[in-house]
Amino acid sequence: MSVRAAAAIGIIGLLSGGCTAIAVSDLDRRIAERKAEIRQLTTDVLAAAPPAFRTTRDVEIELRYRPLQAWLSSVSSPPLVIAADGVKAAGDVVYQGGVGKAWLEPAHDTRVRLAIRDLVLTPQAGALMWTASAQANAETRVRTYIFNVGSNVHCSGALPTVQPRGSFSVGQVQAMKLPYTMRFSIPGELQVSVRCGLGQLGSFGLGFPIGKIADSVSTGSIDLGIETAARIQLPAEAGGRLYVFRFSAQDAVVSMTDRALAVETNVGVAVE
């Protein structure tokens, strides 16, 4: 390479280097401007964000009551029937010395049915309540032994339509689900009664306490739409390995407003 050629290369290099420096400088200026613009936009976005977008925890969930109401409507139409069937009776229900006695037999002839329909959520701030319409009926068979003569009598009774109320009792978030129990609150002492005429033994009445038979309408869980695991899949070209990361709720806070059930939680992440 001649000295002249080397000098030419050097000059070209200097010139092109100079052009590159100008281009980089211009790009750096535009990058700085864009970054400043984005910082301002970020500030503006956060200021203009509606409440749903103002978050403080790792995972936040808002489940509005429409799906819950749809579920309740579905499970109570046709009516949700809670059944109580006798399996074992012990002792005499009536005893009069010199006259006779009466007892329930067979046990499985005693049946109570509570039909719940029109379950409706009645949310309030801080509590999730429900109302319904309910009917109950009961029947039993009483065997008598009066003056050495055995007999039996079938008795039945019904409760007119009542409007029970209750609440959802929710527990702590478990596996990203919210356990609940739907309990009756009003009327607490409701009974469905049967009354049997037992001849010389008089009249026998038996009340089946609804609150004891059906202390809960339903016990289960409410999905929160979040699962307990995230997965990261490497592409086949990179080995194709699937990583599973277990998510667990930490310090979850459950709240109820007049329109939604909300859960806010941080999450622990563990490699499975």
Binding site: I38, A48, E60, P67, G86, A107, T110, V217, S218, Q233
Partner: protein, 253 residues
């Protein structure tokens, strides 16, 4: 951005040593390409942030929804942090291997992005690469929602002089890599979002003993029917914010 020169021994070391001082001023770098790639992402970020701001100001967000889920990037980054390094062949560059050392979700305004620590190696040639990435949600109704890393630019961080022909060839090959092929070589994050909402509980059976007068009792077997039901979650809309992803869904049987 860290600038590394390639650690390749020049083919003609004596000549390079002699001409180095002259040719130094003619050193080539990929700085312009790096800056252009960075600026392109920032332009996209500014547009995305403006769009989000407009939506907020016009009250078009959030949409009407049954279920709102927010997942911050922080727990996803904990998962990505445990991923470890991995490698794959660079598509279209024979013998070159890309090494992904770390991935981390981040954000430019409301544009979801990722910082990627990566390098490329081919024989004795080794260089860091700047990979400009945005996150793209995959919200097919029959699959769990996922986030894919979409590569917008792939720029080796290299300087070389006019005599380093092998390096020059390597750099140009890397600059010509099709970014959509690289997209397929980055991991897919399957979000912990359910496709169904389970409500209710199983049928229950329990025995209750009631008093029936005098000393008599009756054991009743109480059966509460199942109230379990599943409803489908259908993602209606997604909104990226600087710290995480919001999903808005409808829920129906």
């Amino acid at each position: 951005m860290k600038l590394l020169s390639i650690s390749h021994t020049p083919a003609k070391p004596l000549l390079a040593a002699l001409l180095g001082p002259i040719l130094c001023s003619g050193c080539h770098t990929t700085v312009v390409q790096q800056r252009q790639a960075e600026l392109a992402v920032l332009d996209t970020a500014a547009a995305a942030s403006s769009s989000t701001l407009d939506a907020f100001r016009s009250n078009s967000l959030p949409p009407d929804y049954d279920l709102h889920l927010y997942i911050a990037y922080a727990p996803l980054n904990k998962a990505l942090g445990a991923l470890g390094a991995y490698q794959f062949p660079v598509p279209g560059v024979d013998g070159a291997t890309a090494h992904i050392r770390a991935l981390r979700l981040t954000s430019f305004g409301t544009l979801p992005s990722a910082s990627v620590s990566a390098s490329v190696e081919k024989g004795d040639l080794k260089a860091d690469v700047g990979i400009q990435v945005v996150l793209v949600p995959e919200l097919a109704p029959d699959r769990q929602p996922a986030l894919r890393f979409k590569v917008l630019a792939f720029t080796p961080v290299v300087s070389w002089n006019g005599l380093e022909f092998t390096k020059s060839e390597f750099v140009h090959a890397l600059l010509a890599v099709e970014v959509n092929k690289l997209t397929a070589r980055l991991p897919l994050i399957v979000l912990p979002v359910s496709q169904q909402l389970s409500l209710g509980g199983p049928a229950l059976q329990k025995d209750e003993t009631i008093s029936t007068g005098r000393d008599s009792t009756l054991v009743l077997r109480v059966t509460v029917p199942s109230t379990a039901q599943q409803q489908q979650i259908r993602i209606l809309n997604h909104v990226f914010m600087p710290d995480g992803l919001h999903l808005f869904a409808g829920v129906a049987k």
